[in-house]
Symmetry: D2
Subunit: 260 residues, 4 copies
């Protein structure tokens, strides 16, 4: 059998805080089933758009804060190739044990796509090692995302820039380690710029941060944003090896001099 | 007054677990006052070697695990420009609160030089976000450290390689993020290689990891190793700004369109 | 039709100086049809190993120094997705015009895999901007290549290290820009180390340098080396966009203030 | 004598095409003695601002296109620690031999600060290995440069952003290798963004690209711009070693097995 025929579907888990949508009617109007369901739809749509006889490219599930273990017990993470994370006001409610489990899975090889206000999530900060702080403003700025690395897989199929007619503003300095690869830089009407799409490798896992997605705007319905999510998950696909965090004691491969 | 005249001394704090030296006579024979005092001597020696009329380049203090707050209360960290960290078997005894305090100071701008088995220290792992795992062997391998970046400040004054006649072996893969700059790669008699000197920026702080220094060898008495420590501390000197981890809400700098 | 069904084959061109093999019987004994034919066989073998009904993954051709335009007229480069380059003693005979053509194609998106002594080829030096110098010795050192980034696509399917029983030695410092990703570091019997597998992005193209392959050793017959070549070509596959080197004059997207 | 007392002055050479100023009265009105003299003034001013008894920090000279060897004979380059380069419409007139000489000096350790339209200079393209292309517009956009890396030496003493009331626009994508460190990102009124301050290491030399400086605006009279130039030159100071481009044949450091 060829290496290319009928690969197993890429297993995507979309995690969402899922509180705004249940409390704020304005958010519920935009995301009636939650941001997670809207984002999960990116991958369901991709499956549906493929040919009838094709194996589905993705297997999608969702998980939310208020489920037991936040919907991320070991069995779910073990069956996840790429995890998408949206959180905002309740980062502290995410149990340290679950964060440690997600962290370990990223280092083993699981991909992670971190969205918008999850720049302050425990898992993103743990992977970056930095403050991940930034400036912000909720004032209906227009955001224009420029592709600074047009050959990057996360930019596949995008125009040279795309716009979101109204979004929360995030401004520099963004307290992150120098990205391994920078893909998007945003321009905001109010005068700021932001590194809106950035890539890092951590252990066996790939991490992509993507800026847009404030809950009061229909950002995850936008076709270009959905294309970025699709691209990012494909890019963050695990390499197929499972890295270990062990520190093994190993015998020499060459003869050592006899100790005195 | 000129910017260059009589700068304030660079304030170096050398932290050491300081347990081996008090339990193991073989270690005590090499480091009778502890590894921290031997390392602190690098900077005292540099002061002594300067001209008689010169202001001292360094102000050095030490701190150890069994002191209150591990010798690192806020006042000490606030008065530290570069912290050197040696730990080995008691990483878990370092209080999370102190680790968080050190971490915050690095992000603000304090330099950090991480030595040998401190690759598994809480603070190094927190800054890297990765496993920091590696292979190891205690078997008197000879280590030869090659300078792969001869123009780097950490390699100043060194020959193209230097040797340690006997050391613990550390082997790849080393579970770190891609270094911003790689300075040393080690060759070991037993057949392994290791990225032995590597640099990262995290927030306002510079982090340097340096491999050698197992407690049963006189590594920190070696002239080349001492030169690396001197260079690394100079390189990790803070920039003179204190970065904040706050996320300020900011007003627009340009007129925004009137919301509909 | 699905995006995944029957992709067009990846078009690989293997370039070789092809002088040693015609002058030195010892080299001809190892590579009777030239190094290029041995390397091209990696991709023919991969096609043959695939299922009978599968479309071939690769379309392979070769090109050599003494062909007109060194076998690389525009039509060949336009039909090349990834170019592999082996050169040694005749770098200066490669016409600047052809080098410029290859360079432009890499920036547009073509992948480039640079082998062994081609570290001093015009095209590699032009892409790196540095000396690409190193130490060397022909003395039958054993080389052991350690995988320092086990999750990297170029390391797929490899053990934690592999050995070449005899090879030319290359030693640090290697005069390259800091690699975007380092994959292999070599250990040599004679005491040196070398960054043996390194990745860079230049414009739309991906560049991989791979150290082994002196003409007097059967290196390109080695199964692990062949696996690296296969992986590297897959990794260097173009993104599917063709980058331009033009500097367009562009109209503003937002209203500008009226000039005074 | 101490290492810190009375260091030799940092030798800065400011290179300028110096054609616009002699042909275009509007440019001459802004830079009556040429852009080079205005930029050289940054370092003369710094010397003058130091204490009366202090040794000067800088020794400054200038060089221009129409001087013999463009003012850069070997003796001048050998006596240059950091070279600043402004060019625009006559890149092709710069002799390849002089470019090769500058290139070699950067790899040996000389710093290089590349200004504005010199993104297309032969020397910058040779060091980057890429197209260095970008979008542009001359339309009096306001430029706001955001500091994305506030702890970087090139940002010392700057506010979180600074503005140039009118400048030429440069827009992404900028065809450069991923910077080692990104310092500034610009916002333009017309809707674009640009990586306006970026650092790379090439061999022993440090390279800084700084975007502003179109000849028809008084940009190099701006206090913040002058601060960036001062910082950049200090940052690009050579390490004090002179790297070689030679590839030496070296004897083994460890016994090799006897060849069969």
């Amino acid at each position: 059998m060829s290496e290319n025929a009928s690969p197993a579907p890429l297993r995507v888990t979309v995690w969402n805080e899922f509180r705004h949508e249940r409390k704020n009617p304005a958010v519920a109007a935009i995301y009636p089933n939650g941001i997670h369901e809207c984002v999960a739809g990116v991958f369901r749509d991709a499956n549906a758009a493929a040919g009838a006889g094709d194996a589905p490219e993705f297997a999608v599930r969702t998980a939310t804060l208020d489920e037991p273990e936040h919907g991320l017990p070991p069995a779910v993470l073990d069956a996840t190739d790429v995890l998408i994370w949206w959180g905002h006001e309740h980062h502290r409610e995410v149990a340290d044990e679950v964060v440690a489990r997600v962290h370990a899975r990223v280092l083993e090889g699981m991909g992670l796509v971190v969205l918008h206000s999850a720049h302050l999530s425990k898992i993103f900060k743990a992977l970056m090692g930095t403050s991940c702080s930034l400036k912000w403003r909720e004032a209906n700025d227009k955001e224009r995302l420029w592709v600074v690395n047009p050959a990057h897989a996360v930019a596949a199929g995008l125009p040279e820039y795309f716009e979101l007619p109204a979004e929360e503003m995030y401004g520099e300095p963004f307290g992150i380690p120098e990205p391994d690869e920078l893909v998007f830089v945003s321009w905001f009407t109010g005068g700021e710029v932001f590194r809106s799409g950035a890539c890092w490798r951590r252990g066996g896992g790939r991490v992509f941060y993507f800026r847009p997605g404030h809950e009061t705007y229909p950002t995850y319905h936008d076709a270009n944003v959905r294309r970025v999510l699709l691209n990012a998950v494909r890019w963050a696909r695990p390499a197929g090896v499972k890295l270990s965090a062990r520190c093994p004691n190993t015998a020499p491969l060459e003869p050592l001099p006899v100790a005195a």
